[in-house]
């Protein structure tokens, strides 16, 4: 187990290194200048500005510096946002994104589990059809469409929630719902399939024949065993929540990293784009790693390769 985790962590850094290298050279290949007022600068001024950002050095030296900085947790400084260090930019904006993302994933997972379980228990009834319909809607309707519609009705027309604001819990409700739809749909679907499988297995029959009530059988036996595979979809769920959060944060004007990413793309702020790319990749690879480890820990049937005596 320890060997496996170590190997995976090594892979994590290797992948991050490759991503950092590729993004670095891609950004260097881009035409244009990072300075918006270059034409008005005298050659001397330009040289000073370039030296300040280390752009006067050969590309290879810049690359070594950048990678060196990465190891010290330094992602460079932003060209656009008051020369703030990128790490600081991310740090300030991490909390709102994390809050919305976590809320959405928790809400989506819980509702999805309930919906999927109910659908499986009442298989082929109208409840099942309704649950399937809801989960298909959740999977199909893009989060930004949902966000726009929620904003129009719940915020603008009916004044239940603020249109675009970030201060208290109230303002996080709409973005959370918009982001929770996809995990809800996915989890419900997955849960239903799993649960149908589990409900038709022998140990459920045994539990029933021992005279347990349906409630007991479902909660004590079926639900628990169906939950294990849900762990595997946490990774993809994190990816989709992150994707969604970029537009959803934009729509609701939430000062999070998704909004920052979109803003730095539209303003050509290369160090910020690079920093956020690396940060996002790190986050996701880490989530996948944790999920894989969790899965091995939870499910004793999977014991990496050597027959369970690891």
């Amino acid at each position: 187990m320890a060997k496996y985790i170590l190997k995976r962590i090594l892979y994590l850094f290797l992948t991050l290194f490759i991503i950092a290298t590729i993004t670095f050279f891609l950004m260097k290949m881009l035409p244009g200048t990072p300075f918006s007022n270059q034409n008005r600068l005298s050659p001397d001024q330009l040289a000073i500005v370039k030296a300040q950002y280390g752009l006067d050095q050969p590309v290879f030296i810049q690359y070594i510096r950048y990678i060196g900085g990465l190891f010290q947790g330094n992602l460079g400084t932003s060209f656009q946002f008051n020369n703030e260090p990128v790490t600081q930019l991310i740090g300030q904006r991490l909390a709102p994104s994390m809050q919305i993302g976590a809320q959405a994933m928790i809400l989506g997972t819980i509702l999805g589990i309930l919906l999927g379980a109910i659908a499986a228990i009442r298989k082929n009834s109208w409840v099942d059809t309704l649950a399937t319909f809801i989960s298909i809607l959740g999977i199909s309707i893009p989060s930004f469409v949902l966000a726009v519609l929620l904003q129009f009705y719940l915020a603008y027309k009916w004044h239940i929630y603020p249109v675009a604001l970030w201060d208290n819990f109230q303002s996080s409700v709409l973005p959370t719902i918009a982001l929770a739809a996809l995990p809800l749909g996915n989890v419900a679907r997955f849960m239903r399939t799993e649960m149908v499988d589990v409900l038709s297995s022998d140990y459920i029959e045994l539990a029933k024949s021992k005279g347990n009530s349906e409630w007991q059988v479902v909660v004590k036996h079926a639900l628990r065993n169906s939950l294990i595979p849900i762990v595997t979809i946490i990774g993809p769920m994190a990816v989709s929540t992150m994707t969604g959060s970029m537009v959803v944060e934009n729509i609701f004007s939430i000062p999070g990293i998704g909004e920052q990413f979109v803003k730095s793309i539209t303003t050509n702020d290369y160090p910020t784009i690079m920093g956020l790319t690396i940060f996002y990749s790190f986050l996701l690879i880490l989530v996948f790693l944790i999920v894989d480890i969790l899965y091995v820990l939870i499910d004793p049937r999977i014991r990496l390769g050597n027959g369970g005596n690891d």
Binding site: Y11, T15, I18, I19, T23, L26, M29, L30, K123, I136, L137, I139, S140, I141, P142, F144, V145, V148, L149, Q151, F152, Y156, T193, V196, D197, V239, M242, T243, M246, V247, N250, I251, F261, V262, I265, T266, N268, I273, T277, Y280, S281, L284, I285, F288
Partner: protein
């Protein structure tokens, strides 16, 4: 010793008639594809989705004939008109607009010529929204189909080669797949969009570059199973070249995997196009795609909600229909996968 000859007429076939009846094949033998088609058409949801999608595709193909106006034809005086459906007085489609708490005929206000009406209204430049949505859907579908094609062109050969060769080649190719797939799709797409010039080709490339990995993985796994089959062994024994085995034996047997995966790639591509256009790095103006229309609609939704409704509904319908059809196809190809 002589075997006594028994005359033929001593033998009598018993139950002649009944036996034949039993042995007769009542229904025509179905090929695999016929079977799949039968199962698919029995699935009502899938049929409805297939019909809906066919209509949408047909409308997009014949967009120049069907759309009442060009997608970029502007009528500066007729901007932001609400939907109006002829002279029918249907609320929401009668050309009336809420202005300061009063319902006003917006068409009269701008002195639109008599008989002018826009079924879905016009946008801020006076462009007909219906035409823009038809052309926008067309563009989104083109992106999706092209991206899927590129996806197939990379994914299938990659998967087959990796699975067929095995060993070191496979190991190396799988490491590449691992690295590509560990980078979040969206990041790659966005980086590609920043580097390439915004436009149709860049979007297609950006989407395809990330999407082929899933296809390649599935194809590889299937190829691993298929190459152990007897008919592949037979083909090898007969001296068929690897390319011929791949095209003649492997790809036909991989077709169900390919079709199902394609049905899940298409909505994915439509989503990414809409997403990129929505955040402003996708299809450049003045071209319309579902994403740009939705983004325009969102900016104006407070006062002109109809501009947001139509693209939102069309986009959702396409996404739902492709997803459900994908499910239907999977059940049709592999009945065991459904319960």
């Amino acid at each position: 010793m002589e075997i006594p000859q028994i005359p033929k007429d001593k033998f009598k076939l018993l139950n002649n008639k009944g036996n034949k009846e039993q042995e007769k094949i009542g229904t025509p033998a179905l090929t695999y594809m016929q079977d799949v088609r039968r199962r698919l058409f029995k699935n009502k949801v899938a049929v409805v989705c297939l019909t809906l999608l066919s209509i949408i595709v047909l409308i997009s193909v014949f967009a120049p004939v069907i759309a009442p106006y060009g997608p970029n034809v502007q009528h500066a005086t007729l901007s932001n008109l609400p939907p109006k459906l002829g002279n029918l007085n249907i609320p929401g489609f009668n050309g009336y607009q809420n202005m300061g708490g009063k319902m006003v005929d917006a068409y009269q206000q701008v002195h639109a010529p008599k008989g002018t009406y826009y079924i879905l209204g016009t946008d801020y430049l006076g462009r007909d929204l219906l035409s823009r949505i038809i052309y926008g859907t067309r563009l989104s579908l083109i992106v999706a189909v092209l991206a899927t094609l590129v996806d197939l062109l990379i994914g299938i050969p990659y998967g087959i080669v990796s699975g067929w060769k095995g060993g070191m080649t496979d190991n190396f190719m799988q490491r590449i797949v691992e690295i590509v797939s560990s980078v979040p799709n969206l990041i790659v797409v966005i980086l590609m969009m920043i580097i390439l010039k915004p436009g149709l080709i860049s979007i297609v490339l950006a989407i395809a570059i990330t999407d082929w990995v899933t296809m390649a993985r599935l194809i590889r796994a299937q190829t691993f199973q298929l190459k152990e089959q007897e008919y592949v062994l037979a083909a090898r024994t007969l001296g068929e070249s690897s390319t011929k085995i791949a095209t003649k034996h492997l790809i036909p047997n991989l077709s169900s995997t390919i079709i199902i995966q394609t049905m899940f790639t298409i909505p994915n591509a439509i989503f990414f196009e809409a997403f990129l256009s929505f955040i402003g790095i996708g299809i450049p103006a003045p071209n319309a795609s579902l994403g740009t229309l939705l983004s325009d609609g969102q900016k104006a939704f407070r006062f002109l909600p109809y501009q947001m409704w139509a693209p939102a509904i069309i986009l959702s319908i396409i996404m739902i229909a492709t997803n459900l059809l994908g499910d239907g196809l999977r059940d049709a190809f592999d009945p065991q996968s459904s319960d």
